[in-house]
Symmetry: D2
């Protein structure tokens, strides 16, 4: 993995600019699965996004009181992006760090980092922008107070 990290960092900003583990107020454990590896033996980028979704959804349900099936408010992802520095493999234990970079009206921008347990430098970093809408009308709505408070706790 060392070789890959140095390879992929060609033409990248210095790692010192990259958020590190302690920059994220919330951590979600992820256990890799056999199916996460692609033909080359690495975790595919699409799988990393599924780790990010899992992290956000678990937080929203457990800390933000969001009921994904019956709740009045539903969150939709409107954009996302990620940079991949190093690619973990199976079997491995990972953690996703989560913080909120921006919280305004109906929308929230999350920043995420994927770490191998015990490492401070991320394997990948990304962002996800979510808009909350009323389930019935599909129109953007202000966040319910419990959700708003939970997300504020993730701001630097």
């Amino acid at each position: 993995m060392g070789t890959l990290r140095s390879t992929l960092n060609v033409n990248r900003p210095a790692m010192s600019d990259t958020p590190q583990r302690h920059d994220y107020p919330h951590l979600q454990p992820i256990l890799t699965r056999w199916q996460d590896s692609d033909l080359n033996g690495h975790i595919a980028g699409a799988t990393v996004y599924s780790y990010f979704d899992t992290t956000i959804q678990a937080f929203l349900q457990l800390q933000g009181d969001l009921d994904p099936q019956e709740g009045e408010v539903v969150g939709f992802v409107v954009s996302s992006a990620a940079d991949f520095f190093a690619l973990p493999a199976f079997p491995d234990t990972l953690e996703v760090g989560l913080r909120v970079a921006r919280l305004a009206g109906s929308s929230v921008e999350y920043q995420l980092g994927l770490f191998r347990v015990g490492e401070t430098q991320p394997c990948a970093v990304g962002k996800v922008v979510q808009v909350f809408v009323e389930r019935a009308s599909g129109r953007p709505v202000p966040l319910p107070p419990g959700l708003q408070a939970a997300l504020q706790s993730l701001q630097g």
Copy 2:
């Protein structure tokens, strides 16, 4: 889906700026699967990235002569991003449009658009940047001529 599209387009660039189906020289069919839908009945963003990976990898193998298991050259995704305008559901037949925006040295930037069959406006658009490395050393290498030619054919 109409409501969602209009909802999600709040604060977005006009759709006229978005690439349309005829802007993509290559199209990959995608059949949605039961597992693609999340609890809300929509295709998740991570699944859209898996459609993008499928489109790129099928092109590389079938048109670019890339052997993902034994070939001397391996492509790694170093970054990706996507905007989601509307969310298809299961069952549905989709197409991913693929073009090459930049091809330089060991690296290629793809632009992709996800369409429902018969629609000209995309459900999602994205980009993926891939770096090709020598399998043995892990170091970036110039693209093999067959691969280079195939990718050039996807440039506007």
Copy 3:
């Protein structure tokens, strides 16, 4: 794949006992995806079950008028099984054959076969038993007439 087929058929019933493509009244196309391949370059067994689910669910929605999100009746899988004879790879176009072996009360037993396009011998065969329950109470219920008729059309 030939070697694998002959290898895996050691100690198996003769292929003449295995249902062939024309034994299935309904066929669902499946396009393989990059993520379907495991490290060995083969479609994993769990992925074959997801093809089976996709086939059943698409049939229930499109031919059986089942609304998976709002309908009064919900189908749960209570058991499944499969034999794997040969393992397709990516990229490939497959078909799943579907028939109904038993339809009694609230329950239906499907038989399924996975085929590469143009081949008569299956890559895999399996069965899935589903019980239909009332969404509100969770109790087994007789099938709605439209669903009953659609499933009867799949009986030999």
Copy 4:
């Protein structure tokens, strides 16, 4: 989940016949993911098979010294089956119990049980039959001694 368990147990063997947690010598933790839930909010059967694969593959690599990418011996699943009693949801922490029921020549039959943490009755039980072949020739081979010993340790 209680209702579903009682519902699905109609016409089933008594739960006392079902293996319980202490019947499995090896346990693999599984963290559910957002994508594991289907439209009905339950973990799909195909996903349970992917938990089983993950359990077997992690054991083979970590305890059995099997190298899935370069090793001389490769394991192929030739059949599998499962019964589903209750369906966990996201987010949840699960465990898969693993034992070996039969070990003969090139083939091994695993028995598996899926448990929610703290529960003794399984959510699902299943079996998987794997045949080990020489990677180069594709022919069944006797198990390497280290692998044989690791699998024997999982026998009752």
